[in-house]
Structure formats: structure tokens, C-alpha cells
């Protein structure tokens, strides 16, 4: 016997959570795009999507975030630090890869200097993961040692029932337990079986890849030039990535007032590392693509003991020229040793 959340109780669940002060965010399909947004009822949710086009990262590390509001007068400057709202929220129906992405980025935003813009939102959020029932050609969680039913980054884990009538529900963190307490009357005990987890084939050998990347002799390999020839240098792979976290800080306003903002930035852009002098340490697209792969599968591992990739496959799925991490790592796996 396991506890289940019947599908027809989802509306009541949402109402109960809202009453407890939470905003509920779930996958939605709006204006020709799927993303996480606030919902009021179960029918607002697009839970059948394999994966939303946008990630939940958007709600922890927004694409543009005001940091400081300033007003400039003749000899004085007023500034006011802006902080994220202290608002409790539930992310319902997060895929395991997206939830893992949050857990992967936690150490980065926390090492030495704590980024409260991230952590305030993290601490106010409960992640309700739903294990995948389906995978597509681009999914690659198993290749990065995760799985379609991984609980990494989750507070509550749901497994869809084979009958399609609901989910097995299980709290996997204290925050998750507290959340389930608010809806315990709506949960039932049942012996319904969970639907089988989809088979996601391993597309590359990540150990082999990491070994190759760790060899300094390969840093200037012709491989990087060949593999990135067709990269057009846009930022779609980085902006849609659940773990990419690079940003820019920009002042925006007029002569007298404005806002200093933290905006997404991408290592794909030439301007990302360009010095004012014109010198650019990463002056070719191949060096920028190398940086992205090295950062994810070598540097990040060295700093935080984990690869900065959760295997969602969005980079390949959305790439205008059909590139992506999968192809590069497959090619590295298959390089003659």
C-alpha cells in the first residue's frame, strides 16, 4: 500500500495549498510556449508535456532581475537594494531533470558569497516532482547518471499510476513532509501500481568524456573547431538550460534614475569575455563552445563535485542548427583513444 494523490483531488489540493498561503506554479501552455506559471486549477496545467520549453530556473534566477534602484541628484545618490518577494510557492509537476538543475546550481550560488536572490526563492519553494512517463529522442538524463524518476532536488515525489488516475505520492524532504501534511485528508492509501519508468538509452559515456576533457593536451584539440563549425553563436542553449547560471550586471535608466539589473548572459556570446581593450580571451566560437562543455563537465565537477548538466536535452531540442551537448559528448566518447 502506498499513498496516492488521485487526479480528481488535485483541484482540492491546489485550493488547500493556496489557503495555506502558497502560490502554485505548474507547467502551462500559453501564447505558443510552454513554461511554469501560476495556476488556479488542475485544468490550467499541461502535465502531459514531456518537458516544458522553458525551465523552472526562470523562477529562481529570472532572465532579468532588478538589484538596485538609484536616483542621482547633483551631489548625492540615493540607492535602494531591491530584494525578491518573500512569498511561498509550490512548483507542481517539475520533471526530475529540472529539479536536479536547481540542486546542481545551489553550491554555485552559495560558495563563499551567498546569492540571496537565489536562496530566498529557493527557501520559499517546494518542488513537487513528477516522474516521467515518456521520454523523447533528446532526453539524456541517464547519460549523466540521473534518471526519469530521480528525486534529486525534489521535496515531494509523484509517480504516475498505470491507471492514469493519479500519482503515488511521497515526501522526500522535510519541506515535502510539511507540504503533504497540509493536504493529508485528500490523499488515499492504495495498492495501484505506478506506470513503468520510460527507458532512456545512454547516449554517451560520461566517465570517458570527463577523462578526455581532463587531459590538458586536448584543450587545444582540432576537435573543438570541427564540432563547433556550425554554431551560430546564439544563446538559446544556455538560456534554456536548467543549470546555466552566467549573468551580466547592467545599469539601465536615464540621467537621473534607473535600475541596476542582473540579466542572463551566455558564454556563447563574443561580448561575454571581451575586454574593453578589444582583447578577447575566448575570441572564436570554438573556444566558447569548449568553455561551455569544459565548464559543465570538468570545471564544475572540480569545484562542486557534480557535473553541471541534468540531461534535459533542451540544448539539442531547441538548437537552430541541431548542435548540443549530446552530439559533442557522443563524439568525444567515440574519439579514438
Amino acid at each position: 500500500m502506498t499513498r496516492i494523490l488521485p487526479k480528481n483531488k488535485l483541484d482540492d489540493c491546489i485550493a488547500a495549498w493556496q489557503k495555506a498561503g502558497y502560490s502554485v506554479l505548474a507547467p502551462v501552455q500559453r501564447h505558443d510556449m510552454s513554461s511554469f506559471d501560476e495556476v488556479q486549477k488542475a485544468s490550467d496545467m499541461a502535465l502531459d508535456l514531456i518537458l516544458t520549453e522553458r525551465t523552472i530556473k526562470d523562477h529562481f534566477f529570472p532572465q532579468t532581475e532588478p538589484l538596485i534602484k538609484y536616483k542621482i541628484s547633483k551631489h548625492d545618490i540615493d540607492s535602494e537594494t531591491m530584494t525578491p518577494p518573500d512569498k511561498k510557492r509550490i512548483f507542481f509537476g517539475v520533471r526530475p531533470c529540472d529539479a536536479s538543475g536547481l540542486a546542481i546550481d545551489d553550491p554555485l550560488f552559495g560558495w563563499d558569497y551567498k546569492d540571496d536572490y537565489w536562496f530566498r526563492r529557493r527557501n520559499n519553494s517546494v518542488i513537487v516532482t513528477i516522474a516521467c512517463a515518456e521520454a523523447d529522442d533528446f532526453c539524456m538524463c541517464t547519460s549523466v547518471k540521473l534518471s526519469p524518476d530521480s528525486t534529486k532536488g525534489a521535496d515531494v515525489m509523484l509517480r504516475p499510476l498505470a491507471s492514469g488516475n493519479g500519482w503515488q505520492i511521497e515526501a522526500v524532504s522535510e519541506r515535502g513532509t510539511a507540504l503533504l501534511d497540509t493536504v493529508s485528508p485528500l490523499l488515499q492509501e492504495s495498492s495501484d501500481q505506478a506506470a513503468p519508468v520510460p527507458q532512456v538509452a545512454e547516449k554517451f559515456d560520461v566517465e570517458k568524456v570527463m577523462e578526455w576533457l581532463a587531459d590538458p593536451a586536448n584543450f587545444e584539440s582540432q576537435f573543438w573547431k570541427d564540432i563547433s563549425m556550425r554554431c551560430i553563436g546564439c544563446g538559446s542553449c544556455t538560456f534554456l538550460c536548467p543549470t546555466c547560471h552566467c549573468f551580466d550586471i547592467q545599469d539601465e535608466g536615464d540621467t537621473y534614475q534607473g535600475i541596476r539589473r542582473k540579466n542572463w548572459d551566455s558564454c556563447s556570446f563574443a561580448l561575454f569575455t571581451m575586454h574593453t581593450s578589444g582583447h578577447n580571451p575566448r575570441n572564436a566560437q570554438s573556444t566558447r563552445w569548449r568553455q561551455r562543455i569544459m565548464h559543465k563537465f570538468n570545471y564544475y565537477q572540480g569545484k562542486f563535485g557534480v557535473n553541471s548538466c541534468s540531461g534535459c536535452g533542451r540544448c539539442t531540442r531547441q538548437c537552430p542548427v541541431d548542435m548540443g551537448i549530446t552530439e559533442t559528448l557522443q563524439a568525444i566518447t567515440n574519439l579514438p583513444r
Binding site: E53, Q63, T64, R230, C234, S236, Q285, P320
Partner: protein, 276 residues
């Protein structure tokens, strides 16, 4: 011999004779229905070239990227009619020397590949002139007309929703063969005309500026629209701009390689009904 095989062997011959340094074509993609750009430098690599109705990208983008043609050597490229029109525009704007480009032309009709005869841009005058009588894709036209029938406030709402999705990844710009500026206006910071933040207002700025820069220069290849990861219907704006230059100035972008860029030229009789 099918057209794919014929172009493969011609490409291989061009490479082995050294006439071209590179062939830009298509290869198999990561799934059965995807094709990806393929760069062949040797006759052996040319054997991997694929040509079928899934080859829809406009490869001209690569001609103006990274100083590819700056060494004066020749390059061969697979182009559909929209690609040929893009090339016409690039030539008319002095970005590409026509003698440096060998064209493998093809058209996709009823899900079949048809070869276009000719190898240099001059051989495709007919493709250019056909644009005068061509009808825009019905779906695009219909959607644009639906928008135009709206009140300005409704249209604003529509674009506000669409542009609010923009993440400023610049995939539209990078995929576009016409966006070859060494430094895009959004990357200029003294002064910073276009804000780099991707809030809705900044996204309006960016998308309007790009649309304006493309007015009369867009070959309607749809690269930006396909590249957009958040599905903003850029095709609609580009269609509307194309329609405007057509109606106001009888100008068809990409018609020939010696036409004058529409916004860099003028006629004394240009319409000015709106000027007081």
C-alpha cells in the same frame, strides 16, 4: 542518378580539383527528420552530403560569418530559392563577391527535390524575378491579416504577450544572413540605445529595431522564426515589412543582385501621403 548523388559527386570534384575550399551543405541530423549544416573540406566528406525535402535551413548565414570569404577563395553552397534571394541581397550590399560562391540550387516542391540549373548567382535571375508574382505562404498572410483587422490596442496586447516571452538569446539575429553587422546595435553601449535586459519593454525595443533593420532586406527565408526558442511569430513582422516596401516602393527584396537597397536609395516620387 538522383540529384543528391549528382551534387555529391560535383561537390567532391570541386573539392578535389581545389576550385572551392569548402562545400556548405546538409548532413544527417540528430533525429530522422532533422538535417544539420555540414561543412565538407575533402571529397570524402562530400560523400556525407544529404539533399532531401528536410533540408530547409538557409545556409547563406555562414557566408558572412567569421570572415569565411575574406581569403578570396571560393565556397560552394546548397541553396533553395530563398537562399538565392538572400545571396542576392548580400551581393547587392557588397558583403559577398558573387564570383566566390558556387551554388548548388534546389527547390522543394510537393515534398520532392528539384534541381535548379546554374552554378553562379547570375544564372538564377529567373528565381529572383519570380518573387514579383509569388504569393506569400497562406498561413502567414492569413495570420497577418487577422492582426491587421484588430484595433491597435488589441495588436499591442498581442505583441506584448509575444515579446514578453523573448529571452534575448539573439538566435533570430544569429540565424539571419542579413544580420552581419560586426557590432550589433544592442551590443553597443556608448550610448546603450537598446537595453540588454529582456523585460517586455526591452524586448519591444530589440524586436522593433531588428524588424526595422530588416525592412526591405528580408528574403522571408524564415530562419529567425524557426530559430526562436520561444516561438515568437517573427515571420509576421517580416511579412508586414516586406509588404510595405512592395506596396510603397514596388520593391522586392532579393529580386536581383544589383538592386539598390531600398532604404539606402530613394525616388523623388516616393509616396508621402502621411506627411503634413
Amino acid at each position: 542518378m538522383g540529384i543528391q548523388e549528382q551534387y555529391r559527386s560535383e561537390a567532391a570534384a570541386l573539392l578535389s580539383s581545389g576550385e572551392v575550399k569548402l562545400v556548405i551543405g546538409f548532413g544527417p541530423g540528430s533525429t530522422a527528420d532533422r538535417r544539420r549544416p555540414l561543412f565538407a573540406r575533402t571529397p570524402e566528406e562530400a560523400e556525407k552530403l544529404v539533399l532531401d525535402p528536410a533540408c530547409i535551413s538557409n545556409l547563406t548565414t555562414y557566408l558572412v560569418a567569421g570572415g569565411l570569404l575574406s581569403d578570396g577563395k571560393k565556397v560552394a553552397i546548397f541553396l533553395k530559392p530563398d537562399g538565392i534571394r538572400s545571396l542576392n541581397i548580400l551581393v547587392s550590399e557588397c558583403q559577398v563577391k558573387p564570383e566566390q560562391v558556387v551554388i548548388f540550387g534546389y527547390a522543394i516542391e510537393n515534398n520532392e527535390i528539384r534541381p535548379l540549373s546554374g552554378r553562379s548567382i547570375g544564372d538564377f535571375a529567373e528565381i529572383g524575378s519570380k518573387i514579383r508574382t509569388a504569393t506569400p505562404p497562406p498561413a502567414v498572410q492569413k495570420e497577418a491579416e487577422r492582426l491587421e483587422a484588430m484595433s491597435p490596442a488589441e495588436r499591442f496586447e498581442f505583441w506584448k504577450e509575444q515579446f514578453s516571452k523573448c529571452i534575448k538569446c539573439y538566435a533570430c539575429r544569429q540565424a539571419c544572413p542579413m544580420c552581419y553587422c560586426r557590432r550589433c546595435i544592442v551590443d553597443v553601449n556608448q550610448p546603450q540605445w537598446v537595453s540588454t535586459s529582456s523585460h517586455t519593454l526591452g524586448n519591444f525595443e530589440w524586436n522593433l529595431v531588428r524588424a526595422f533593420h530588416l525592412a526591405g532586406r528580408c528574403a522571408a527565408c524564415g530562419a529567425c522564426d524557426r530559430a526562436c526558442p520561444v516561438n515568437i511569430p517573427l515571420r509576421l513582422i517580416n511579412y508586414r515589412m516586406g509588404k510595405e516596401v512592395k506596396e510603397a516602393f514596388d520593391y522586392h527584396a532579393g529580386e536581383s543582385s544589383d538592386q539598390k537597397p531600398v532604404l539606402a536609395s530613394f525616388s523623388q516620387d516616393d509616396p508621402e501621403t502621411f506627411i503634413l
